[in-house]
Amino acid sequence: MNLLRRIFRFYYDGFMSMTIGRSLWMIILVKLVIIFAIFKLFFFPDFLGSRFDKQEDKAEYVTKELLNKLP
């Protein structure tokens, strides 16, 4: 418990004494929100995952895709 408290204090004190780091963390958080809550959610669905549940169906689709791309 003492060790956990020390680890907590280590991070707590570190974060509290940050200067430019506060702005950087803000940038990181905004960036992560944009990446995961906007880009991933609305613009980057898993192409195969969103169409098929089973692995076999995904394999079937990709095989068909490859065979159809033969010039």
């Binding site: 280590f10 991070y11 004190d13 570190g14 974060f15 004494s17 940050m18 200067t19 430019i20 780091g21 702005s23 950087l24 963390w25 940038i27 990181i28 960036k31 992560l32 944009i34 990446i35 880009f39 991933k40 613009f43 980057f44 669905p45 898993d46 192409f47 195969l48 995952g49 692995q55 995904k58 394999a59 990709v62 095989t63 895709e65 490859l66 065979l67 791309k69 033969l70 010039p71």
Partner: protein
């Protein structure tokens, strides 16, 4: 397949990768420079070294924070825009990326906290160990993604399973220790070390120009000069080895990089050259020189360590050369189509329960699988990468690399001879080198990635077969979104870095990020 969809999907991936690579090399190199500086502090006990270490650590922290997670978008793009490819590569890509994630999380995330928060809280030696572990962790993270990239240039250690339409890893060590993977890792991280050294010398020169922080500037220049010079020697060695690997495994890329149309023995290297703006109509994609300055025999030696060696040109590789036992691309296309047809027959036979037919189809598929991707090409000319971009990118990268060697030598000479005062010509040159270092590393990627077109996996899958069936419009929208987001991030990175550099180590930001 709509060609504009392929072009936009490629442009989107290139844009993301280029922006991601703005942040990575400085992290890779600066982490080691900081570790060297802190080692000097621990060995000498000189508080100036501690101050210098903390200052560069602040700039490292800014670059790291802005760049973190920019690579995730590349993984999103694999799943959305390149779904056929993502499925086709199977666990070969997944395993290295998973290891990268675990390493990045445990090594970097744990010890980076000790590195920034641990001054005066943990022992000096433990703090130094943490700084070295951050450097090692950052570079090990790069290893895994570069292994994955190297596999795309030289697929090894896998077997194609027609039932799942996936490549399955059969030998992890063959993937990890393929000659291309080792070389790619070393050459790429070394480019980061050179870039970071140029960065440190450039910023130090700015302080000397402003007559501020002389001790910090001189000591930083010393560390970066030595590190940059040593790494430049290594990067020449790995670059030279890379050329031989390319000549062996990606000969069309090698010929394009040199604009070598007709193969020859005693092939000269074009040290400088300018290509005509318009393509010659005589032969498809033949590019003529306006002028060129050649080093006799050097290309043969560079490719095969033999000045007499025959270096095949684009014409040989596309149309074939029976005398040199070079198969024409049309024959490879035929083999590729046999492999694809065999896959179709195998699937049909498997469905109808015809074991004999499926077995013979599988044998045919396996026998021709190393040319599988050629079957998707419309004609032999599609196997030629963009020559001008590959040719110029290589020369810009190499030319700038030698310029940096000169920078390191001069900076070391000035520092060691204590002649850094009033050398405005040097200060300005060194500052200008910073963007050029970024340009050089980007050009390196251009050679690697543009030069291997049309392949997403060398010989096995072209980009045209890898792309998802999306609308071009949706890719255009995400391209614009990325362009805006990444440009904002890059501006933020540069702005915060410049503000911190102007503040300098005295006015704060030295004890914690």
């Amino acid at each position: 397949m709509d060609p504009s969809l392929i072009d936009w999907s490629r442009a989107q991936f290139a844009l993301t990768a280029i922006y991601h690579w703005f942040f990575v090399p400085l992290t890779l190199g600066l982490s080691f420079i900081i570790a060297f500086m802190e080692t000097m502090y621990i060995r000498t006990g000189d508080e100036h070294w501690k101050r210098i270490t903390k200052y560069w650590m602040t700039l490292f922290g800014i670059n790291f924070a802005i760049g973190v997670a920019t690579g995730i978008i590349l993984e999103f793009e694999f799943g959305t825009n390149w779904s056929n490819y993502s499925w086709f590569v199977g666990d070969i890509f997944g395993a290295p990326l998973a290891i990268e994630g675990i390493l990045a999380f445990f090594l970097e995330s744990t010890f980076i906290a000790v590195m920034f928060f641990g001054w005066n809280k943990v022992g000096k030696k433990f703090h130094l160990l943490s700084t070295w572990l951050v450097a090692a962790g950052a570079n090990l993270s790069a290893l895994w993604i570069l292994v994955a990239n190297a596999w795309m240039q030289y697929p090894a250690g896998m077997h194609f399973n027609p039932d799942t339409a996936r490549n399955e890893m059969v030998n992890f060590w063959e993937v990890l220790f393929s000659p291309v993977a080792i070389n790619k890792f070393l050459h790429t991280v070394q480019s980061g070390y050179v870039l970071a050294s140029v960065f440190v010398i450039g910023i130090s020169s700015w302080y000397l120009l402003k007559k501020r922080e002389e001790m910090l500037a001189k000591r930083s220049m010393l560390v970066a000069g030595v590190f940059g010079l040593v790494m430049s020697v290594f990067i020449i060695v790995t670059g030279d080895h890379s050329a031989r690997l390319m000549a062996k495994y990606q000969p069309v890329k090698f010929a394009a990089m040199e604009n070598l149309y007709e193969g020859q023995t005693h092939a000269p290297l074009v040290a400088f050259g300018m290509l005509k703006v318009n393509e010659s109509m005589e032969e498809h994609k033949k590019e003529d020189f306006i002028f060129k300055l050649e080093i006799p025999n050097f290309l043969s030696y560079m490719a095969f360590l033999d000045a007499n060696a025959y270096v095949p040109g684009i014409k040989d590789l596309i149309h074939g050369n029976p005398e040199r036992n070079i198969m024409p691309t049309t024959e490879k296309i035929d083999k590729g189509r046999v492999a694809i047809s065999a896959l179709k027959t195998y699937k049909e036979a498997k469905k109808s329960g015809d074991t004999a037919k499926s077995d013979s189809a599988l044998t045919l598929l396996n026998a021709n699988f190393n040319h599988f991707g050629y079957g998707f090409l419309k004609d032999e000319h599609e196997a030629i990468p963009p020559i001008k971009l590959t040719f110029y990118s290589f020369r810009i990268m190499v030319g700038l690399g030698f310029l940096f060697v000169l920078l390191f030598i001069i900076s070391l000479w000035l520092v060691l001879k204590n002649k850094t005062a009033n050398k405005k010509w040097f200060y300005y040159s060194a500052i200008c080198m910073i963007p050029l270092a970024y340009l050089a590393t980007q050009m390196g990627w251009m050679v690697a990635e543009v030069g291997r077109q049309p392949w997403i996996i060398q010989d096995v899958m072209p980009v045209s077969a890898a792309v998802s069936k999306l609308t071009t419009g949706s890719v255009q929208v995400t391209f614009v979104l990325f362009a805006i987001t990444f440009t904002v991030l890059l501006i933020a990175d540069i702005k915060i870095l410049l503000t911190q550099i102007k503040k300098g180590p005295k006015e704060g930001g030295t004890s914690h990020v």
